[in-house]
Amino acid sequence: MKKPNQFNFCGNVKRREFLSTVGGGFPALALSGMLGSEGFFNQANGATTGGFRNPLEAKPPVVGGKAKSVIFIFCYGGPSHIDTFDHKPSMYGMDGKTIDVKTFGRGGKKNQGRIVEPKWKFKQYGECGKYVSDLFPNVGSCVDDIAFIHSMTADSPIHGSALLMMNCGSVISGKPSLGSWVNYGLGSVNENLPGYVVMLDESGGPISGAKNWTSGYMPASYQGTVFRSKGDPILNLKHVNGMPREEQRMLIDSLNHLNTGHLESRFDNTNLSARIASYELAYKMQATAPEAIDLDSESEETKSLYGIGDQQTDSFGRKCLLSRRLVERGVRFIQLYSGGAHNDQNWDAHGDLEDNHNKHAGATDKPIAGLIKDLKRRGMLEDTLIVWGGEFGRQPTAEYAKGTGRDHNSYGFTMWMAGGGIKGGVSVGQTDELGSAAVENRYHVKHLHATILDRMGLDPNSLTFFHGGLDESLVGVEGAEPIREVMA
């Protein structure tokens, strides 16, 4: 086993070397190392000094992780836990009753509210007998593979800061996102695709946009790449006015020729050779990325498993199937957004709860279940960690005098995980009988992050990056233990 601090640049290398190389671009050095394995410029690789491990090169996990990739299904806006997976039987029949309950959402702190009883019926599923609401009958059929965490808590019940918390571990912006940490820790096994992919909703990004997939104080090479399931998957993948591949090859050959001449008298500069090689990678990526999103090679049966072809589920189904294909191609971290923009374009059900959740659950239930089943039958589920949830849950009471809308709730909500290294058919933690707050085995977002890192084979408390005088980590200076009850 490697020392845990292998991921801390500064634990491995003298800080002086680190900093002096940063100016010249250590990821460039790293890239030349990576290209070495591809057969390009082995000599350049030989000139690499400083003892760096390649941040982009695939690295072995530290703590014997079970998962190789993460698919994070982000239900932006905050799905209501008591209407989906957190069964509250005693609430039925209480609709309209005013009760004392402490809540905190965008409408501020309240001590009293009018109950909106869960608007869907719950049924038991699977061998574990898990209760799931009628919003998710298909996911219900997968519960024996799922671990539910019903006692999640977060620091903020407001979208902007709560999104940052769930994605980057802090309500304050400027920190790298979870996907950046995973790629920093593990690298990517596919050189022809980004290691960290984000797929957004057609209606738009989440609040704060790119901050949610930023690499923060880490190098830009760890930032999430926005991937589209239709058209050109990656920005600039095609020439703006179109250019035949043969023509581009001529240009790159010409460029290589001139650059090689330039390199002759600068033989020791690995940045230059890395840059030459990056054009070869770009050239290959242009072929690989469209192939990755081309769903034509999938069987009709597979497509319908994901709900592709059905208007309601087609869009999210494509993203889920695309996620599987990206996982097959070694992409480390994939984040799928269910919902975008503002208001009812996402799970933010302030107005008509039923309308909102029927829409978003309806668009995602079958695709998500399809993803789990497809991964499972292909033997990929044990290597793939699926995470489902939003930035918070919703309140048991109504937000306004009239209607069924629920305000935000970060005092208690549900997230679930499935696949790589996760025990199926378990439920951990509890909220009170209204679902207003976590009361048993309370977990914080940082415990969820710790669990994800752990399952990926990274020690959440040793995975650090030196910045601004601190060894920063995703789970914060005080550290966090993974949620052991959900771990297989």
Binding site: V22, A28, G209, H467, G469
Partner: protein
């Protein structure tokens, strides 16, 4: 910033203006603008924990100021003593208290118009005349209306129109609940965060003795003095504010601790007071406190007040007419005719706009909540909800501060516009900018060195502490810093000195023996090749094609962003209004608007600094997406077309000469014969083998040239 560096503003003065350009003697537009520095800190428009967020913002002030000017990572001591450097948590909060009065971004009064005093005086003179003339016009129209409304009994009884928002109502309506005392409270009683009033009596407004003429007494008040306060919340800052007050002999009214009204001598009815800009400046989103101190010596007594948004049509009329809004307008139209009422309304709108006109240039600047910031305590474990010992402003102990009393060195500063400030920032700025400060001159000279050589003498430019790096050439840094002070803190002199040095003029050529002995070039035996920065890449591309607009100053620009990038925003397309003028689009990259949640993609891909935290040394990554951007993007290809057209249009008309010129422009040297030959062949083959036109083939050559390592890297 740009003009400060161009004018070679002495660096010590630069530092003072960044931190306290409003507090210096004779502030200028430039020095006040510089305090926009404090407006760049972290900002959450709807924080879950408001109190903690106030300190998250201030923590950014501490972190940025200490790393930028002092090369100290003070930020590490927010939750506990610094793990490596001799900086205690108390030092941290003592340092923070220099900024404790600074209000966060987007609080009222931070956008302030700037006008030179003479300009301002002339403007206000003109305004006075214009207002008087307009008022006269309105009064003439109104006098008949008032008579009529009195006649029909509608003059007084109308309730507030929906457009008027009442924050605090008086006893004529639904009186607000006030906390009050009748003997002098502790200082700070009128401030927002004060806890002094916790034990005060609570009662509904309308304090006085029954029988006082015209009064609406709800709660008895017989003592000679009263101090009273009430809270109200608001989600937004109103456009205007009105105080309706019925007071006894002497009265002072405060909003969030700032005096907004003062009068002596009693009055016998509610008075309608249009509050000015200073009241609007004091108003804040979230919790507000309206506080009143009133005195009386004899006779009946009464104090009551309401605070509302201004009427939709402010003017000279008593409030009832204004508050009647549209409904009264209808009534008046019937009686006087539409034209008259329309004329009246337009005159009032005009008056309103005259009163709101801002002279000069709007600036986003620092503002403090008053001359005496609230006390600050150490926050245990960094939590604003766990206050420890109180601290006073003090410089870090390790630099000779600690318990040394700084308060003696500052006094509150009054300003022409806006409330007084504490003077604390000026005290801090002067200390940082002092030649005796051991860090300031070294830190800036180290940065200059870094930007010329690619690496600082202390490689960790933001951290001169234990976790940073030792200087490779300490005597050199001492010399540079002493010379800077000697040369009157002139950075241009220092650039000249560095650039004319032998060290700077060394080539980047490798040398086998030196590579063996000093592979990292620690000793600066050669120039370290470096990739152009993100901004330099874009600017160089524009410069090659001749499109670069070198204009200085002015408003920022929004160059075109690909629709795919705009689609990542939660309101796709909003917040990035693409500049319509191509000249604006082609301005230098430093003038591109920096939006924290929507980055200019090409710059972000080439390692432009993160927008949230200080960046001492940029990364210089090499990844395939950069190659994709350089080969395929609209931005680069547009410039390739212009560059190719330029080579074809001017001068030589044979291909070889055009290629020769193109390569010379890209590499800034005489091209080798073989290189020219290779590119000529490329252009010819693109035509013969790919069927491109001569123009298209030249555009491809231009694209290749722009992608050369030699273009992207400096020797």
């Amino acid at each position: 910033m740009i003009s400060a560096f161009n004018e070679d503003k002495p660096y010590n003065q630069f530092v003072i203006e960044q931190l306290a350009g409003d507090e210096i003697a004779n502030p200028t537009m430039a020095s006040v603008t510089a305090t926009g520095f404090h407006r760049l800190m972290q900002w959450d428009d709807e924080p879950a924990d408001r109190k903690q967020h106030v300190y998250d913002v201030l923590a950014d002030n501490v972190l940025v100021t200490s790393e930028t000017f002092l090369g100290m990572t003070l930020g590490c001591a927010r939750c506990h003593d610094h793990k490596a450097d001799p900086i205690s948590q108390k030092d941290y909060y003592s340092f923070m208290s220099f900024f404790h009065g600074v209000t966060p971004y987007e609080t009222p009064g931070t956008i302030r118009p700037w006008a030179e005093p003479a300009e301002l005086a002339a403007f206000e003179d003109r305004r006075k005349d214009r207002v008087a003339a307009k008022r006269k016009e309105i009064e003439a129209l109104e006098s008949d209306m008032i008579d009529y409304l009195k006649e029909v009994g509608k003059f007084r009884k109308d309730k507030a129109a929906p457009s008027v928002k009442t924050y605090v109502d008086d006893a004529r309506g639904t009186p607000a609940t006030w906390s009050f005392v009748t003997s002098a409270p502790a200082p700070g009683w009128k401030e927002v965060g004060s806890k002094a009033f916790k034990n005060w009596t609570k009662a509904q407004g309308g304090f006085g003795t029954r029988g006082t003429p015209n009064s609406f007494v709800t709660t008895e008040w017989k003592e000679p003095e009263i101090w009273m306060r009430t809270n109200f919340g608001s989600k937004e800052i109103p456009e205007s504010l009105v105080l309706e007050i019925f007071h006894d002999e002497d009265v002072e009214v405060y909003l969030n601790g700032v005096e907004i009204f003062k009068a002596s001598g009693h009055i016998t009815d509610y008075q309608f007071v249009e509050l000015g800009q200073s009241a609007l400046d004091a108003f804040q989103t979230g919790n507000n406190v309206l506080a009143i101190h009133c005195k009386q010596t004899k006779g009946g007594q009464f104090i009551d007040a309401a605070l509302r948004t201004g009427p939709q049509m402010p003017g000279t009329l008593p409030v009832a007419l204004n508050r009647g809004g549209k409904r009264l307008e209808g009534e008046l139209s019937k009686h006087f005719g539409r034209e008259i009422v329309k004329e009246w309304r337009e005159a009032k709108n005009k008056l309103n706009s005259i009163q709101r006109e801002m002279p000069g240039t709007p600036l986003n600047v620092v503002k403090e909540s008053g001359s005496q910031p609230l006390p600050l305590q150490v926050h245990l474990r960094g939590s604003a909800h766990a206050p420890g010992d109180e601290v006073e402003p003090a410089f870090p102990s390790v630099l000779g501060g600690g318990d040394s009393p700084v308060p003696a060195s500052y006094v509150p500063v009054k300003h022409e516009v806006g409330p007084a400030t504490s003077g604390r920032r000026l005290a801090l700025a002067k200390w940082i900018a002092s030649p005796e400060n051991p860090l300031t001159s070294r830190v800036i000279m180290n940065r200059l060195w870094q930007h010329h050589f690619g690496r600082g003498i202390v490689p960790s430019t933001n951290d001169f502490g234990q976790l940073g790096e030792d200087p490779t050439h300490p005597e050199l840094l001492d010399f540079l810093s002493a010379t800077l002070v000697e040369k009157g803190w002139s950075l241009k002199e220092m650039h000249r000195l560095i650039i004319s040095s032998r060290a700077y003029r060394r080539s980047s050529t490798p040398d086998s023996q030196n590579l063996l002995e000093d592979p990292q070039n620690t000793l600066f035996w050669r120039y370290d090749m470096r990739r152009l920065t993100a901004e330099e890449i874009r600017d160089s591309l524009l410069a090659l094609s001749g499109n670069l607009n070198p204009e200085q100053g002015g408003h920022w620009v929004y160059p075109e962003l690909p629709p795919e990038v705009l689609a990542t925003a939660s309101r796709p397309g909003k917040g990035w209004p693409i500049s319509q003028d191509m000249k604006d689009q082609n301005r230098r990259s430093i003038y591109i608007h920096v939006k924290r949640s929507l980055r200019f993609q090409m710059l972000a891909d080439f390692d432009q600094a993160d927008t949230d935290t200080p960046c001492a040394v940029r990364f210089a990554t090499t990844v395939p997406t950069q190659a994709l951007a350089m080969l395929n993007s609209k931005l680069v290809n547009d410039q390739a077309v212009v560059f190719a057209d330029m080579l074809r249009a001017d001068g030589e008309d044979d291909l070889r000469s055009r290629i020769h010129r193109g390569l010379a422009l890209v590499t800034q040297r005489k091209p080798e014969e073989a290189e020219v030959e290779h590119c000529v062949e490329l252009v010819e083959r693109l035509q013969s083998e790919r069927g491109l036109t001569e123009k298209q083939a030249m555009e491809r050559f231009a694209l290749v040239a722009m992608n050369l390592n030699e273009f992207m890297y400096l020797d």
